[in-house]
Subunit: 240 residues, 2 copies
DNA sequence: CGGCACTTTGATCGTGGTCAATAAGTGTGG
DNA sequence: CCACACTTATTGACCACGATCAAAGTGCCG
């Protein structure tokens, strides 16, 4: 059986292994956190928090996949991003959540009161640094996404999405060629700034080229990953 | 003469007032920083750092306006964002800068060695918290931009940009109706995911509607700000 | 088996991109 | 001070990508 490796963390009291948040804490710190968080099991489509809710808690997604959405005054909606096991949700210095979070699959979250998190920061300053690094990394990811939305064609965006989805799952220990695709075409479209029809056409086109193989509705295999990666990383037409 | 108000900061040794970074530091801390940073005067178009350079320094922009750009392997370029007096540039836990930074106007930056910043973090933990809050705010701004790129039409994007440019200048003490527009149409287009022609058409259209008045090539007056704000904030067609 | 949600595919339309020509500033040297 | 070159902005004509509208097709759960 797997022990707790160097980069395997205890997530709060949930006891599940998670990715990266608590690694630099010692046992006393982990015990401390354990007493202050609550675990919640959630089904697909369950809401973790709504956009505009008072930001009273910070969540760690310990199992499953979630999407972050933001709505405009006129009702247009956009998926800001997707989150996986080990990711932090809802950390903000503001009074309200700027976006909503919903589960895409069954899963579990750990909920920690925001004031208690501040307390933990004071007691274990290294944790604050951890949050800062996570935040900077997330900022870099956002900027990547800005580039994607601003400069990529429809097929390039879908290719980039599929590859990054596979990479996210591999980083979390997924093995094998078939990945989960728990999002609808509409979700992917709202994330990539496309309509669901355009997403569907791109996926069909990849399938016809033999780049991907669909396994039912929730499984996908990247059969020609280099092709997808080169399309999805802005190598454009200059790949001689 | 103005004293150092509650939210006026000394930026490192530069001595200029800045916006928000050092506010929670005491005099000893400010002295400490003063000894460790260098001020540099820059002209328009001067490069602060290149994408891919080793990330050895962190910069505070103390005067002027800068743009952050990112290039793709195939040469496509995108403007990730603009930065103003008081903003931090180039803070990253990675080894290299993920984007480049260039001045749009004359101005000055303060350069602080990265290892010295880490040292300051250890001595003045409140500074680290300051960086964390800044980072989360910047993340929220990036997500706004993602929404803009993913869901807004060309005119909506340009309207949102003009309003946010005006707001950024007002937050930094600008008074009067005429704002600086030190960016080219191409810069705005690369920021908004549009071509320079489309930006030009949007601006012309606003001018013809009387919403803006251009003063030379670098000045702009928002004559009907509510109209621009409602267009640029996603109120769509439902504004009865 | 029926109902429902999601996906696929097709036909048509429109926004914004592309290509091109002109105009308006801006800076430099005669 | 003006002439010239150069950069940036504007405007027009045309085109393509992706949106929109519409209709089957597919798989899942009761």
């Amino acid at each position: 059986m797997e022990g707790l490796g160097a980069d395997a963390d205890i997530c709060l009291k949930c006891g599940s292994r998670s990715v990266g948040l608590c690694a630099p804490l010692d046992v006393a710190a982990l015990d401390d956190m354990a007493g202050e968080s609550e675990r919640h099991a959630l089904d697909a489509r369950d809401v973790i928090f709504h956009q505009g809710d008072p930001a009273r808690h910070v969540y760690t997604l310990t199992e499953g996949m979630a999407r972050l959405t933001r709505v405009l005054p006129d009702g247009r909606q956009s998926v800001i991003g997707f989150r996986f096991a080990g990711d932090i949700l809802g950390f903000t210095p503001a009074d309200e959540y700027a976006f909503g979070a919903e589960m895409l699959t069954r899963g579990t979250v750990c909920r920690l009161d925001r004031r208690r998190l501040e307390h933990l920061f004071r007691r274990y300053p290294v944790m604050e640094r951890r949050f800062l690094d996570l935040c900077v990394k997330e900022l870099a990811a956002s900027q990547d996404h800005i580039l994607t939305l601003g400069r990529f064609s429809a097929e390039e965006r879908v290719a980039a999405f599929l590859v990054s989805l596979a990479e996210a799952q591999e980083r979390r220990g997924h093995v094998g060629a078939v990945f989960d695709l728990p999002t609808t075409r509409a979700d992917i479209g709202e994330f990539l700034g496309l309509t669901l029809e355009t997403v569907s056409r791109a996926i069909s086109s990849f399938r016809k080229r033999g780049w991907i193989i669909l396994h039912g509705h929730a499984g996908i295999e990247l059969a020609d990953r280099p092709a997808l990666m080169s399309l999805g990383s802005g190598e454009g037409a200059d790949a001689a």
